[in-house]
């Protein structure tokens, strides 16, 4: 294999390259199994968290998911990355979206809308892996997690930006767990994965909470889901036990509005933020637009164009491999310039939109942090809840007769 990884030597040696034979696995069958398993596992999780309120099956689902979707299927197709394919298919009609990718994107969203983030609970191999290694849950300061909670949104926005401009699928490129599942790959990313896993041992799901763009997307749907995960059927006695059990800090304590701040001040702040909202959007749009040409460097046409321009300025320099390919294929500078300009124009447009969205994320976070809501008892924040089912067994109201017993791994 190695001999084909690089161009052949430049002069004839009479050596005959052997024909390459690839064993073709029955890909279609595997894809069908993927989809069936995806639906089946999400079904099991939904039944376990909504109906049975038990964690046992979820652990098994996690093990299966890590083994099958993770190590056997090597983390591909993954729903997290599918966001990019879908975005690209929506903006570029020459891109044919494979059905399996579409299903991997849409099914977890559908389940989230019905039952909450049951995909995250244990079907996503990334979430499942973090769940399985988790030992203790040291809580991070709430203020910090709130800020870090904006990151997945920014990541999502950038991933979409680079996908629709056909530059790069950054979610796939910077995937920290793929190297672990494949037992090889980019050392930098593997090290990141190892660090994340060690963090996941001591605090709940750092990747899900602070990085995962798909989780961010699912949270929108799960917050309005039809059937919601409930802590207990019986009245909450405000014992606070479940609050501490949740690895992702998704349980909100009862809150007697004891802020010392005057009501008028609170209202004023909220109004200010509403006024600020369009400003933040504009500001974000402007800033991102101004760095659009910097961001466009990630696009290969732009990089090639820069190299060609450099070469045109010093035509005598030795050609790099990329330039050799460019001139060798008889590509014209006009053609390249046209493509370059198209990419630049795309970047101008999409960075503006991306900037506006980033401004929106900041504004909405600020507004969310300025509203006071009164809660009488412990409640689940359905956007953040990943349906791990840990909290149920901590609740003293938990049905004692439940066969699964006190599983609180």
């Amino acid at each position: 294999m190695a001999q084909n990884r690089f161009p052949k030597p430049d002069f004839e040696s009479g050596y005959k390259y052997p024909e390459i034979h690839h064993a073709i696995p029955n890909e279609e069958l595997l894809v069908a199994i993927d989809i069936i398993l995806l639906v089946a596992l999400m079904g099991i999780v939904s039944w376990a968290v909504i109906k049975k309120r038990t964690r046992g099956p979820i652990l098994w689902v996690s093990v299966i998911s890590v083994a099958y979707f993770g190590f056997f299927r090597k983390g591909c197709v993954c729903s997290i990355g599918s966001v990019q394919n879908v975005a690209l298919a929506l903006t570029d009609n020459t891109y044919a979206l494979p059905l399996s990718v579409l299903l991997f994107f849409i099914l977890p969203v559908l389940f989230a809308f019905l039952f909450g983030r049951v995909f995250c609970a244990g079907v996503c191999p990334f979430g499942a892996l973090q769940e399985l290694v988790n030992i203790k849950n040291y809580k991070l300061p709430k203020a910090l997690t709130t800020v870090l909670g904006m990151m997945p949104w920014f990541y999502l926005i950038f991933a979409l930006l680079y996908a629709v401009t056909r530059s790069s699928f950054i979610i796939c490129r910077f995937d920290p767990f793929i190297g672990i599942f494949r037992l090889g790959g980019d050392i930098g990313m593997i090290t990141c994965g190892v660090i994340l896993l060690i963090m996941a041992m001591f605090t709940g799901r750092p990747f899900c909470r602070f990085f995962c763009p798909y989780g961010a997307l699912l949270s929108i749907f799960s917050s309005v889901s039809i059937w919601k995960i409930k802590l207990t059927d019986k009245p909450c006695i405000n014992c606070e036990l479940c609050h501490n059990a949740c690895p992702v800090d998704a349980i909100r304590p009862p809150y007697a509005n004891k802020a010392k701040e005057s009501r008028l001040r609170g209202v004023k702040r909220l109004l200010n933020y509403f006024v600020l909202l369009p400003l933040l959007i504009l500001c974000g749009a402007f800033l991102m637009r101004s760095v659009s040409s910097e961001l466009s460097r990630a696009n290969k046409e732009v990089r090639l164009y820069d190299m060609v321009m450099q070469h045109e300025a010093n035509p005598g320099d030795v050609l790099s491999l990329e330039l050799e390919a460019f001139y060798g294929q008889g590509d014209s500078i006009e053609g390249l310039t046209q493509r370059y300009e198209k990419v630049q124009a795309d970047f101008k447009l999409y960075t503006t939109i991306a900037g506006a969205l980033m401004g929106l994320v900041v504004a909405i976070t600020l507004i969310g942090l300025s509203v006071k809501r009164t809660r009488k008892q412990y409640e689940i924040d359905h956007a953040a809840c990943v349906g791990c089912a840990r909290c149920f067994s901590y609740c003293p109201q938990y049905k004692i007769g439940n066969e699964s017993g006190n599983i609180a791994l």
Binding site: T146, I190, L319
Partner: protein, 581 residues
């Protein structure tokens, strides 16, 4: 006891993971920078081999070294992979031991004594969010500033000291432009305008008909209309000190051209932005230079050959056989006489700069030859004698299978040489008569045409003729080609396009004028001057539509030079710069 062991295992494995990660990452960066294909030794040897490919021992040595480099690379990769396995293995050890260590107390929920005050958290969080948002804004602003054209301008202007903009002023403007108060668009355009005003474009036009002398420019924002008499879109205009039919060249903020008469022969440098004459250099005191000016016809003169630059040096040649070379500031580096050319119209081939070399096509009565000279020192790199009759056309570089070929027209043949050593690559006898037009190339095909002979397309990989045509032939003007179409202008006013694959004549325009200047393709358009100074703009595609034509007001024989937003035109008596703004 058991707990202590577990704890110790966990600690040791954790320490191991940390140190090992650091080692792996360092190693990774080392391996990442080595590309087994481009090791310096192999590359140098390969160049040696290119120069003399009969040395079998050398080839064997290259093969061995190449193999060694590849092997070493893969061994290192394997080591890295082994490292990853060890790392992941230790991670498993750590997880298992830590898990058992915490096995007892993991189910005990911690009950916070002091219930959290959510509002305090939220207030704190708001503060953090504002910080993060400001941080991101700051980063974006830094990027805007760093990529700001004003910064680059500042460097450049202070370096050549030619532009009049005050660096402090520009920095001020730069700061202002970063403040998001006006609409994004206005600021952007303002910035763009400013760039085109002062910062030098990367797009050069180093020789006659551009880089590689191939008639194709990468310039952007090229002006499409101008009027010399009313001054619209004219940045500057200067009258020419001494006459010459040579075409201007552009590098950075400098325009070069030459002029000569019986009194003096000179190389000029003008400022691209202001039109100010920066310096001139006369060809004087050159050993072997003829005392008596050679006889030339009126339509050739003593300075018909265009000058050439590589951004470090600039060279000019005159009909006396004198060649002079200066650095970018006008300091003479060397000068020599190549032997007075015997040529009944006057020597007219332009110079061609390629890397550190300048090529001189010296097809004269006595000893026709092609010479490569070092631009910095004037030393002869190689010289090949030719069997051609007197030729007035100029050398071009064609890229064929990634490699440059030096292609020369002649009577009777079109010949390609290896620009590195002058080795002849192929030769096709297809021309006759007085050859003045130069070749052009696209997609590995070389096109040559001359009046009273024919138009030929040659596959430059092996020198085989792909097709021929003799419908329309140029006399002085040279053709230009894209991958699909070839365009040429005749002396009797016909401008025609051809299919590069089949040679079939495409669109033909009969324009009832005369063309000496050569067409240049920029931004998908063919720009062509007629002798009476009318500019024709065509679409550089199959339709070859005449998009526009307008009188510029002065007789123009030279081929204009292109860079971003600008065209520099030399007319009979003046030189002027057209700007898009």
């Amino acid at each position: 006891m058991k707990k202590a062991i577990l704890r110790n295992i966990a600690i040791v494995s954790a320490l191991f993971i940390v140190t090992f990660s650091i080692m792996l990452i360092t190693n990774y960066f080392q391996v990442r920078d080595t590309t087994p294909l481009q090791t310096e030794v192999v590359e140098t040897l390969k160049q040696l081999n290119d120069a003399n490919n009969t040395n079998l021992a050398l080839q064997e040595q290259i093969r061995q070294l190449d193999l060694l480099a590849r092997k070493a690379y893969f061994v290192r990769l394997d080591h890295l992979m082994a490292g990853v396995y060890i790392l992941l293995g230790m991670l498993v050890v750590f997880i298992v031991s830590a898990r058992f260590y915490f096995a007892k107390d993991k189910n005990i929920p911690v009950k916070t004594i002091d219930p959290v005050d959510e509002w305090v958290d939220k207030t704190q969080a708001r503060k953090y969010v504002v910080w993060v948002a400001s941080g991101m804004t700051a980063v974006a602003l830094v990027f805007v500033l760093l990529s700001s054209p004003y910064l680059t301008t500042k460097e450049k202007t202070s370096k050549d000291g030619a532009a009049e903009t005050n660096p402090q002023e520009t920095a001020l403007v730069a700061e202002e432009s970063a403040v998001p108060e006006a609409g994004a668009d206005t600021l952007q355009t303002a910035a763009e305008e400013a760039v085109s005003e002062v910062a030098a474009s990367k797009v050069t036009h180093n020789s006659f008909r551009g880089n590689n002398s191939n008639g194709i420019s990468a310039a952007k924002g090229v002006p499409v209309k101008w009027n010399l008499s009313s001054g619209t879109h004219i940045a500057w205009k200067q009258s020419i000190p001494r006459k010459g039919f040579n075409s201007p060249v552009i590098n950075g903020n400098k325009v070069f051209f030459s002029g000569a008469d019986d009194q003096a022969r000179e190389l000029y440098c003008y400022d691209l932005n202001t039109g100010e004459k920066l310096w001139s250099l006369a060809a004087v005191n050159i050993k072997g230079s003829p005392k008596q000016m050679p006889k030339t016809t009126k339509d050739t003169g003593l300075a018909a050959s265009s000058v050439a630059t590589n951004g470090k040096q600039v060279c000019a040649i005159f009909a006396t056989g004198d060649i002079i070379c200066a650095d970018m500031d006008g300091k003479q580096l060397w000068a020599k006489n190549l032997g007075a050319p015997s040529n009944h119209y006057g020597y007219a081939s332009s110079l061609l700069a390629f890397g550190n070399e300048v090529f001189v096509q010296y097809d004269n009565q006595n000893s026709p030859k092609v010479v490569a000279l070092d631009m910095a020192t004037g030393t002869e790199r190689w010289s090949k004698s030719r069997t051609e009759k007197i030729t007035w056309s100029s050398p071009v570089i064609a890229y064929v299978n990634n490699k440059p070929q030096l292609v020369l027209m002649g009577n009777p043949a079109i010949t390609a040489y290896d620009p590195n050593n002058g080795k002849q690559l192929w030769r096709v006898e297809c021309l006759s008569g007085e050859v003045g037009s130069s070749a052009c190339s696209a997609n590995g095909i070389v096109f040559g045409a001359s009046e009273y002979a024919k138009l030929v397309a040659i596959n430059a990989t092996d020198g085989s003729v792909l097709w021929e045509s003799n419908d329309y032939l140029p006399e002085v003007s040279s053709p230009v080609a894209t991958k699909d179409n070839l365009y040429l202008a005749t002396s009797y006013g016909v401008v025609a396009s051809f299919d590069t694959k089949t040679g079939q004549t495409g669109k033909v325009h009969e324009l009832n004028t005369e063309f000496y200047s050569s067409p240049v393709i920029a931004e998908g358009k063919v720009y062509l001057f007629s002798n009476d100074g009318k500019m024709f703009v065509f679409s550089a595609d199959k339709e070859f539509r005449l998009l526009d034509s307008f009188e510029t007001g002065e007789h123009t024989f030279a081929t204009p030079a292109f860079t971003d937003n600008k065209i520099v035109v030399r007319t009979e008596n003046s030189i002027y710069c057209v700007t898009a703004n």
